[in-house]
Subunit: 345 residues, 2 copies
Amino acid sequence: MRGARTPVSVYAVILAGGGGVRLWPASRRRRPKQFLAIAPGARSLFEATVERVRPLIPLERLLVVTTAGQAAAVRATLPALPAANLVVEPVARNTAPAIALAARTLERAGQAEAVMAVLPSDHVVTDEAAFRRTLEQAIAAAARHLVTVGIRPTRPETGYGYLELGSRSEGDAWEVRRFVEKPDLARAREYLAAGHYLWNSGMVFFRVGRILEETRRHLPEVVRAVDGRYEDAPAISLDYGVMEKTADIWAVRGEFGWSDVGSWLAVADVHPPDAAGQVRLGGPLVAVDAKANVVIGDKLVALVGVEGLVVIVTEDAVLVIPKERVQDVRAVVAQLEQRGMDTYL
Amino acid sequence: MRGARTPVSVYAVILAGGGGVRLWPASRRRRPKQFLAIAPGARSLFEATVERVRPLIPLERLLVVTTAGQAAAVRATLPALPAANLVVEPVARNTAPAIALAARTLERAGQAEAVMAVLPSDHVVTDEAAFRRTLEQAIAAAARHLVTVGIRPTRPETGYGYLELGSRSEGDAWEVRRFVEKPDLARAREYLAAGHYLWNSGMVFFRVGRILEETRRHLPEVVRAVDGRYEDAPAISLDYGVMEKTADIWAVRGEFGWSDVGSWLAVADVHPPDAAGQVRLGGPLVAVDAKANVVIGDKLVALVGVEGLVVIVTEDAVLVIPKERVQDVRAVVAQLEQRGMDTYL
């Protein structure tokens, strides 16, 4: 790709190779979550991610990392992307290999000093201006450190990992004391009250040379695989394999209406409910004594006398699941796999 | 139509003009319940009704009464039916006018002495041989009386009307003391225990001249409308308008796996449940901690952690309703009408 060969070059690296199953039946192997239009507005999450960063970073300095199976969907969505900026993983191997692949691509293009802003493509952001201000802070801090964005928690969320901040700050960035696994509710409440715990957004920022150096140190087999046979790379996340093992992690704090929309309930949370507390995306709803349901899909859905259900309707499948069970969509997908019902995967 | 002009001629009159809404979203104005394949086997209820009587009554002596809107569906299902045997109501006006129209059609064809076996086309019968034995008994009794078929109750059903039998019998027929409206549960239990209460099947048998005479006596405006402007006929049922007002009603008792499949629950009842007590008609089902649900439709349906729900999926609509609320499908249809959503009606 093109781009000025100066230390201040900034590249956006959009990770678009994920294949999550938690939004089944809408998300499928060939149409994963990032290609669904589940945020307010008609764009897919991937499109929205690209549009969100373009005012800061032009298309020539935007890389998309995706798998072979999803490359066509990326090209269809973003035909103006230069061909060299589409980085294709032969197989999906989680974020550490994907980011190393992007970093090596940039390094070979003479951009070892450039800053990479690595952004998941399957999240929702409602305040785009605030998002870009945070991005600029993170990019600035990434000249010297490994940087992440921490989201100020608004509820005792048990579905996210957290970052515990230390007391040192440098400009807009705070030292990260540790990464914290998804907590139980009691602990999530403590984190919310404490004030120095933030949700881990999964956005990371660093210089190209720096992340390659850190990855070579902590996951040498990943860099070897990137330079050889990608299939040999272990499927491991950058957080787990590199970031958590490194002392020099800093975070900037973000507040921009962020959600990882990691379940149907999270999808519902980014849309306003009607007077009966119901969220309806897509076609019409007829509700009789029904409340607090989530209904997504283009067909007419009629609910009578039910409460707290999630009903998802696609062209070929229907899912009915109570709100408190939405994580168990995984069990449905597991059963489809076990029964060889690949049409629906 | 053709047919021997003797007193023993028997005509089957299939009532196929109903437009019930209780099986929405499968039943629609242009595809009402009788044209749905909801009984075991691939045939529609209408087809099954015709096939059931043909071993007794040939097609030349089979009349189908239907509305203008449904005539095409009847012709498509039964192309061998002689054109004169399709009796078309300009508008739907319930059973008293529909039966009077069929009776006048037969009378004009010189069949005043013939016996009419009037059969709804939207019921299920599982034992066809037993059904035909009962039909023969009813036809025999119809030479002298107005005759109906009473079904021996197998549960305290509150969704059906009942016939209370008197003590007089004549051959296989018993005098009917009175017609009983749909009872509450306590009363339905009494009826079940008493033994001389039967479900009113809606099948009626009489001579052509006799039913015209009775209808002229009790509903003269109906016969006038049949001979003039059909639209002027009051929409009234034969039971309510004629049978209940006449002393000479007799019933033969039937036991042939009958159901009026008048709700989604009744549809489920005529199909065997799986090990989790679930009934599935159509496409595949993925169930995770789900039991006692009823799922109908061709698409894949996945249920997680739900119990006692009825889920109906068609090309353009989905209904989710608890079993105990199935009668409230009417409220959905009412809302569709009120909101002018005619596409779904």
